[in-house]
Symmetry: C2
Subunit: 300 residues, 2 copies
């Protein structure tokens, strides 16, 4: 580890942390759940922490805020949509923030969640899951017409990624003047299921960087966009927030850049050797195995 600063969470610093913040920001995949399974002790921990503001900030773009609230409920946890900041929502809010013309269309490479958030924000979206079935046979010498009114491509995690979508998105970005290239996030891998890590949005986004030779605007963590937006809703000083996440280059960097306290949990993609690797220069204030350690330490 590069010098000191990172403390293993213990009864003393956990108590100090708890009293020094007014809001806990939680990542979800690898922190709250893995796939459709809650991580041990999460329910009791969130119940205990409810005296403070709780916010869920996830780079997972597969669901809309409404769909995330349903998922929480199906796992027995009641969370309001307003407490959820997903990168699908961030993509729609980014377009709002730049006054993207509702006359233009948005081509989506990714899940239903992005389509729903764009629709709720008043934008017309094309693509998404339904293009997962479209195939192209190059030997039949096809010519794909693309919609010249597409003014933005939004790309996120897409388990139905295919050549059709990559070609369509590439055409829009390369050929439609001024077409925006927006990435929900660039996570390399993620705990999209309980048993294994899977390629994340960073995989699909990189593919499009490869074909367009352009770099995207990233709206999810660690970009500041979600934090700026979140601060307009919650009037809490960032120094009185604690960001809890399982990834150094998204969660912890996001929290640190904003001036939050940061807690890394080892229940997701980051291992202790990765944290302690001399090549790693993203250091959280605290680290612990899992979210429920907070509860154990605060209420022994």
């Amino acid at each position: 580890m590069n010098g000191g600063g990172v403390e293993l969470l213990n009864a003393g610093n956990a108590t100090a942390l708890f009293h020094s913040v007014d809001a806990f920001l939680f990542d979800c995949d690898g922190v709250i759940w893995k796939g459709d399974k809650l991580i041990d002790g999460v329910y009791d921990t969130l119940t205990f922490l409810r005296s403070q503001k709780l916010v869920f900030v996830t780079n997972n773009s597969s669901k809309s805020r409404r769909q995330f609230a349903s998922k929480f409920l199906s796992l027995g946890i009641s969370v309001s949509q307003d407490e959820i900041f997903s990168s699908s929502f961030a993509a729609a809010m980014y377009l709002k923030s730049i006054e993207f013309s509702p006359d233009k269309k948005v081509y989506v490479v990714g899940g239903e969640g992005i389509l729903e958030e764009l629709d709720l924000a008043g934008f017309t979206a094309l693509g998404g899951p339904e293009d997962g079935k479209k195939m192209i046979e190059l030997k039949e010498n096809p010519f794909l017409e693309h919609d010249k009114t597409v003014g933005a491509v939004v790309i996120g995690l897409d388990q139905y990624i295919n050549f059709y979508k990559l070609h369509y998105a590439t055409l829009c970005i390369r050929e439609n003047p001024g077409c925006l290239f927006i990435a929900t996030n660039r996570d390399a891998v993620g705990n999209m299921t309980d048993l294994q890590e899977w390629p994340g949005a960073g995989c699909m986004v990189a593919a499009l960087c490869g074909s367009t030779e352009k770099e995207p605007i990233v709206v999810g963590k660690p970009s500041a966009f979600m934090m700026d937006f979140l601060l307009k809703k919650f009037h809490v000083d960032t120094s009185r927030m604690c960001m809890v996440g399982d990834r150094l280059d998204t969660d912890i960097l996001f929290g640190q850049s904003a001036g939050c306290k940061t807690l890394l949990v080892l229940s997701g993609v980051t291992t202790l050797p990765t944290l302690q690797d001399s090549a790693n220069n993203i250091l959280p204030d605290y680290y612990t195995d899992k979210v429920s350690d907070l509860l154990q330490l605060l209420r022994p």
Copy 2:
């Protein structure tokens, strides 16, 4: 254009070029053909140039050398397999050159051509086109077992790219100790059909860079590997070769790095504005519209 040096091909410099070289190296897509159509005048030009050594150096990995020779024949041009250097062949020769153990397997993301070249070189390959039909449903909480004896992943252009392949290749590279990550090439786009440019291998390779956070060994142009290999077969001084291609960052860079003369043709992905853009610093010796201009100028 950054300074001088680039000359439009004319009768004078074409004649000088012709007499100063002993071999012409041709790229194929966008130079010889687009999709399954010969570019105008190519047949007569190659027939005329047959007094010199002709070599075809293509980053297209979809076919093996045998399959490329068949394609040439189907277009009415007789080319021997020994005159063809494809990136599919280069991938197999690279593994040979490093004495990759035949006891290990190779996972392929790409076309039939790579599988055939690996097989001819005595390696056992997995994946390829047949994995294009494999689907994963994350909501079913799958766990994908991967072969721990895979010691190399070879990735090229794959029109059947999907989440299964990206996940499998990512698992091999991340979890099999020492597993090599080999890219046939990184072309952003290419003329895989007559009517349109399509995302190239650079798209698929970048996807895997995104999920593995690693960089590949590239065996195709502009890497020197193909040239080194080619020079073992053809005993021609590189200063007496002319590389003819349609891409600056692969063909022209490849030729220049080796000390060849270079001729850019505008019949493929590079446009005159791109060549002349002040941001471009890859400058061929000569440029012209298409290969057959050589014939026109040499035999007016």
